[in-house]
């Protein structure tokens, strides 16, 4: 074996070890990126030319007045808008550098990688345990006895295990609102997403539950990348590394959270974060 080949082999070996240590090593730094994304429904423009990238392992908050396009943006990122009547799109969304609409990306796989938590808890009409593993089952990630293990791990992860371990086969609708939202979070985490889209995830919760859920969000990074739409400016400040302000379908500002709140570049941001509008 000549010297060049040996060097090459050694390099390859090092690369593979590094990949094992950090699976994200060879992937783009931005897990999710919108490029000149314009979205409308039946000729009615909702988002105009949005370009924004989410660095892997960070928390980004989206703030902005009602109707500014925050939720539409979020729902476009895991293709939840695809089937909404009159949905039109220009521009693109890249997941690890590849369009989420590219034929090589399966829709179901995109949604597995880009999970979502909704405004209000939405448990399925099945037992608590079955709720947690519903996605795991659908994707065939685990089965049989393994499902019980998955359920326990995920319920522990969201701090719900002790509260529900004696009623795993009971109805999820008897849990409190905060517990239900944690259950939905456990369900979303169970399929192993890379990105979690949070659509005003605490807007239906009381302050104590909100605090518990927020504390949990913080533990999810850097393994996950979070994008959280919120009307709660305090929540945006507490949680996020970066903040995006949407205004009337446009990305008005995007920067480090401290900068956006303390030295906003756009006058609309200044008025919004000071509570003068919205």
């Amino acid at each position: 074996m000549d010297e060049v080949t040996r060097h090459h082999d050694a390099d390859a070996h090092v690369a593979s070890v590094l990949r094992t240590l950090d699976p994200d090593r060879d992937r783009p730094a931005d897990v999710l990126a919108a490029e000149h994304l314009t979205v409308g429904f039946g000729g009615q423009g909702v988002l105009r030319d949005v370009t924004v990238a989410l660095p892997r392992g960070t928390v980004t908050a989206i703030i902005g007045p009602t109707g500014s396009g925050k939720s539409t943006f979020l729902r476009t990122l895991n293709r939840m808008n695809d089937r909404v009547r009159g949905f039109e799109r220009h521009g693109d969304v890249l997941l690890d550098g590849e369009s989420i609409w590219s034929p090589s990306h399966d829709l179901l796989a995109v949604r597995r990688r880009v999970g979502m938590l909704f405004q209000r808890p939405n448990p399925f009409p099945m037992s608590i345990r079955d709720n947690v593993v519903a996605g795991v089952r659908a994707h065939g990630i685990a089965r049989g006895k393994q499902l019980d293990v998955v359920a326990e791990i995920r319920l522990r992860e969201v701090g719900l295990w002790d509260a529900v371990k004696d009623r795993l086969h009971g109805s999820p609708y008897r849990l409190s609102g905060g517990q239900q939202q944690l259950l939905c979070l456990a369900r979303a985490l169970a399929v192993g997403p890379e990105v979690l889209l949070l659509d005003e995830p605490t807007s239906a919760l009381d302050p104590m539950s909100t605090e518990a859920v927020e504390a949990l969000f913080k533990t999810l990074t850097p393994a996950l990348t979070l994008l959280v739409v919120t009307h709660n400016l305090g929540q945006a400040r507490r949680l996020s590394d970066a903040t995006i302000l949407f205004y009337d379908g446009e990305l008005a500002e995007h920067g480090a959270t401290a900068q956006v709140f303390e030295q906003p570049r756009d006058p609309r941001t200044a008025r919004y974060v000071q509570g003068l509008v919205g």
Binding site: L108, G115, F118, P125, M126, A138, S171
Partner: protein, 355 residues
């Protein structure tokens, strides 16, 4: 100082008196609703009680003569029609009269079971297509058609069944199954002679077709009531439309779908004329295979009532009344069973009105 316009005083007084009159009317209306409501509730309850009592009284001679043997016996013999009368357990009956309802009972349960097995999956898939699978401009007219089919008189469906569907099935479909079935226990039931299209399976399928529109349109309405949020949650988790339907939508409305199926079952159990036309109307035997001729309780009552009236002792009518009593008992039992199932399956179900 506050200025009062003098004219308003008189107006207020007039308002007061008319308001008093209106309140008096409101109180009368209130009592009308309360008392009337209670009386109205008695109508269905009273009708059911009256009906059961009358049937039981009419059937009493038959019950006295046959006892439990009525449920296990197979003969349906009116006996001597020339006046020979004998006394059995103190009841005057025609000589040689002998009645057993087992074939009718079996036929009723078999045809209804076939109808349900056919109609429930077809209805659920129809409801899925109408709410999820098809674009609105196709689904809306199609949904309307489904509702129209529910209103087609059963005699027309029976006529079509005996003239078109039955011969087609017996000639082109049944042999495909029947000729390939090995002659072993259980499977044997699906083989053998397929007849000419009048019989058990044809009756069951005709009944199934008749109850599909009821179950399908009810199920579609139920599907439309399921809140979007849990369905979106399932979709966001990467479930297919079919998985969303099976794991979220259907369980969400499970008790309602069971209710719709029971509604359909009730119609299948009681359906008379269509079954009388396609069953072959053969008394006294339980079909040896899936295709044989037979009859049901309801079809027997309508087809035998005329000749039963010629029995001077009234014994034939008594036996038809007992058959009717049996059918009523089955219907009530089915409803009670459905309630029990709904209660049990509702344990994990979604609370009504919850997103």
């Amino acid at each position: 100082m506050i200025q009062r316009a003098p004219s308003t005083v008189g107006e207020t007084r007039r308002d007061d008196s008319s308001r008093r009159v209106r309140r008096a009317w409101a109180r009368r209306e209130e009592s009308l609703w309360r008392v009337g409501g209670r009386v109205a509730t008695l109508v269905p309850v009273g009708a059911l009680a009256f009906l059961l009592v009358v049937l039981a009284v009419k059937a009493w001679p038959a019950i006295k003569v046959s006892g439990w043997g009525y449920l296990t016996g197979s003969a349906w013999l009116p006996g001597s029609t020339y006046g020979g009368v004998e006394k059995v357990h103190g009841v005057a009956i025609p000589v040689g009269a002998h009645y057993g309802a087992w074939p009718l009972l079996a036929g009723t349960l078999q045809t209804s079971a076939i109808a349900l097995i056919f109609a429930v999956p077809v209805s659920i898939l129809t409801a899925f297509a109408l709410t999820e699978g098809l674009p609105g401009r196709i689904a809306r007219p199609l949904g309307f058609v489904v509702e129209v089919v529910a209103g087609i008189p059963s005699v027309i469906i029976g006529l079509w069944g005996v003239l078109v569907l039955g011969p087609f099935l017996a000639h082109d479909v049944y042999p495909l199954v029947a000729t390939h079935v090995p002659n072993v226990p259980v499977l044997r039931y699906f083989g053998g002679s397929v007849g000419y299209g009048e019989g058990l399976l044809t009756s069951g399928l005709v009944l199934g077709l008749m109850i599909v529109p009821i179950i399908a349109s009810t199920t579609r309405d139920l599907f439309l009531q399921v809140p979007a949020l849990p369905q979106e949650g399932a979709r966001a988790l990467g479930m297919t439309d079919a998985e969303v339907a099976r794991r979220v939508t259907l369980p969400w409305v499970r008790s309602g779908v069971i209710g719709a199926a029971v509604l359909g079952l009730g119609r299948a159990l009681g359906e008379t004329i269509a079954v009388a036309m396609v069953s072959g109307s053969v008394l006294g035997v339980v079909s040896p295979n899936l295709y044989g001729t037979m009859t049901t309780i309801a079809a027997t009552i309508v087809s035998q009532l005329d000749s039963a009236a010629t029995d001077g002792t009234g014994f034939a009518v008594a036996n038809l009344a007992e058959a009717g009593l049996l059918l009523a008992a089955i219907s009530i039992a089915v409803n009670l069973a459905a309630r029990a199932i709904v209660r049990r399956s509702g344990a994990l179900g979604a609370p009504v009105g919850r997103a």
